[in-house]
């Protein structure tokens, strides 16, 4: 029995090996962070398409033609999930997605399915604003989530392309050891941030603040998904008086006007954190994103 399966495996290798160049795995990554992680684990064996940039609000994208063309080729769809991409991903999947990238297949990887989500809601109502009942989808900002997701990713790559299993495993373990070291360093630098208070634009930062033990005391949006109003900002201005707030956090895709307005009147610095790869000039890798975020936060909280 064992031997028979061995024979099949050898035969399979024989068929695949002589052709030498196994076509690269096409990864359709919804956001730059998942694209970067795909390259870390897949190396040269994957071709990665990044559907959005750091300056685009993923929630407000459209199922535009270029995305359909990219989805047509995808062997693996790698996104955040938890409804973050619900405005466009279902259409891409229906129109251009192959049988191997449909929901509940090997080629469908939603990062938030594999980590402990924050802000999971039992009872939801649209009057609460734009909320995700499945939980907050911005999971990549807790660095402890990254290796968990990387492991799932390497398993998926392994199942899609078994010939290169060793490479994926090697990439995973070298990434993990690199990452563990980085986390230790970030946590050492970030220890002073514990208990500090910040104001955010949208709940894009929950995983970051949860990791660092910081508190989000207010959102510039009156309700999630609704743009800041003058009335809401005025009331924030009053309620924040006398409180010790270290920073207002803005993502690259968020309008900075409201944050600057509040910053001017309160002397709380408005921090343009990178949020993801490409979110600032120096944020070229996943590690850069956290390096820079930590530097900016620690600088703002002397």
């Amino acid at each position: 029995m064992r031997f028979f399966s061995l024979l099949i495996a050898v035969a399979g290798l024989l068929c695949a090996a002589p052709s030498g160049a196994f076509a690269k795995i096409n990864v359709f990554a919804c956001t730059p962070e998942w694209a970067a992680l795909s390259k870390e684990i897949g190396g040269d064996l994957v071709d990665v398409y990044t559907a959005t940039t750091a300056h685009q609000d993923v929630h407000h994208m459209r199922a535009k033609p270029s995305l359909l063309a990219a989805m047509r080729k995808a062997d693996l769809v790698f996104c955040s999930g938890a409804s973050l991409e619900s405005g466009w991903l279902p259409i891409l999947l229906q129109k251009a997605g192959g049988p191997n990238v449909q929901q509940n297949t090997i080629g469908w990887l939603m990062a938030s399915d594999f980590v402990q989500k924050l802000e999971v809601m039992e009872h939801v109502d649209r009057s609460m604003g734009h909320i995700h009942p499945e939980g907050n989808p911005h999971v990549h900002l807790n660095p402890h989530n990254i290796p968990v997701i990387a492991e799932v990713l390497s398993e998926r790559l392994f199942l899609i392309d078994m010939n290169n299993a060793d490479a994926y495993e090697a990439n995973l373990s070298s990434f993990k050891s690199k990452w563990e070291k980085a986390i230790a360093e970030w946590e050492e630098r970030g220890a002073a941030l514990k208990g500090r208070n910040v104001v955010v634009y949208h709940k894009s930062w929950s995983y970051l603040t949860d990791w660092l033990g910081m508190n989000i005391v207010a959102s510039l949006e009156p309700k999630p998904g609704l743009p800041p109003t003058t009335a809401h900002l005025e009331s924030l201005l009053q309620s924040l008086k006398g409180k010790e707030i270290d920073a207002i956090l803005i993502a690259p895709f968020e309008n900075e006007d409201a944050a600057l307005w509040l910053s001017e009147r309160t002397d709380i610095p408005a921090l343009h954190l990178p949020y993801t790869i490409g979110g600032s000039d120096n944020a070229d890798t996943l590690k850069d994103v956290f390096d820079e975020t930590l530097s900016m936060l620690t600088k703002a909280t002397p």
Binding site: R2, L6, L7, A9, V10, A11, L14, A17, P18, T53, H55, Q56, D57, H60, M61, R62, A63, K64, P65, S66, L68, A69, R72, K73, S86, G87, W88, L89, P90, I91, L93, Q94, K95, G97, G98, P99, Q102, N104, I106, D113, F114, K117, L118, E119, V120, E122, R126, G129, H130, E134, G135, E155, R156, L159, A165, G225, L226, P227, F253, N255
Partner: protein
Amino acid sequence: MSNKLLLAASAVALLTTSPAFAAEDVNLESLHAEIQAMRQAYESKIEQLEQKVETLSAQQSQTAAQVTAIEPAAGENVPPATSKRRVSDNSFNPEIGVILQGKYQSFSETEGEFAGFAIGEEAERGQEGFGIDETELNFSASVDNLFRGSATIALHEHGGGTEVEIEEAYVETMALPHGLNAKAGRFFSELGYLNSHHAHADDFADRPLPNRAFLDGNYGDDGVQISAVLPTDFYSEIGGGVFRGNDFPGGGADGNDIGSWTAYGRVGGDMGDNASWRLGLSTLQVDGAERSANEGAVTFNGDSSLYIADARLTYAPTGNAKDQEIILQGEYFYRDEDGTYNDTDAGTGIVAYDDNQSGWYAQGVYKFHPQWRVGTRYSQLYAGGVPAGLAGSALDDEGHDPWAASAMIDWSNSEFSRVRAQFNREELSGDNEDNQIILQYIMSLGAHGAHPF
């Protein structure tokens, strides 16, 4: 025995993968040892593989469980255990979405006839005063891993009455390879840009003139449509369908035959990070239609061929449409008809007709604030020449080309609500100067599907 087989397989393996190796003096002993090593390596690999498949399937069922059994976040109010209990019959209920639409319309003219065109009832300008036209109820869900189904029931108002209409009821494939898709049932065909969209997704409170005159708002018929997204670096898609031929511009189909067919081709892509575009060509061919128009006064019998070219461009700084965006869109229509017209109001009798009409619209919408948009649109129709027998009938434009100009402003509190004000100036016939004011709300309850580009 088994070793011999293995030896043979491995020999083939070595021969095919590295021919140079075969030339060497092969020592049987060492080869045997090597095969043993290979065998061990693969056995452990297979074990690993089995283990991974197991972990993965465990993970997946765990994920599924997580999705259904919502875990309370640590530290937050933990609901009583009973509230976690799921009624299994409900968990497979389809997604239900309701679009509530309401309008208040005011027109300065009492008539709104299109010079040179015989139109269907959805093409009319609607009724004055308050109304809940186009309120719709949608059910949709995955049928299984291969199919998805959707049904949309809509309210339509004409002639002072409200009709309940099955606007769409179709199944479509989810997981066909090679970018293929099939759709069957009743649905809005892929024709031009607007036709496949529901009215609630439009940027204006009414459809532009050519969509009203040539497609009666939407062409939605019973049939089958196949499409394929092609494996090109830029976006390209082709498709087509066959239909009963009963919806305007068809009509009178007895269902024994294929009454109409469609075909389309599209390309699209990005220009940098900021802009996206799409261009398309499509056709709708109706054979042997018996179409009734102008509230039954005009009948057309014959073949009708419609050709549409459409273009759409979106632009947003850094491609982030959340705060600011410009959308430009236009379609050109050309219709060639060969058959007979009979206008009973004008008493023309049955008159042979072989001519063409055309029309176009162009529109621009500017989102200048996350919640506010303004837009403007111009649409124009050109009726064809008419044979002498149809002079003075609805088909006679009497030297006037219908046109309409619109301006709108809308406010969306969230992505689920929109309130709009629109002003139209329509000059649809020679002595007609219709100033229209339309106030509208569009609200979405429950499931709200994603919108295409």
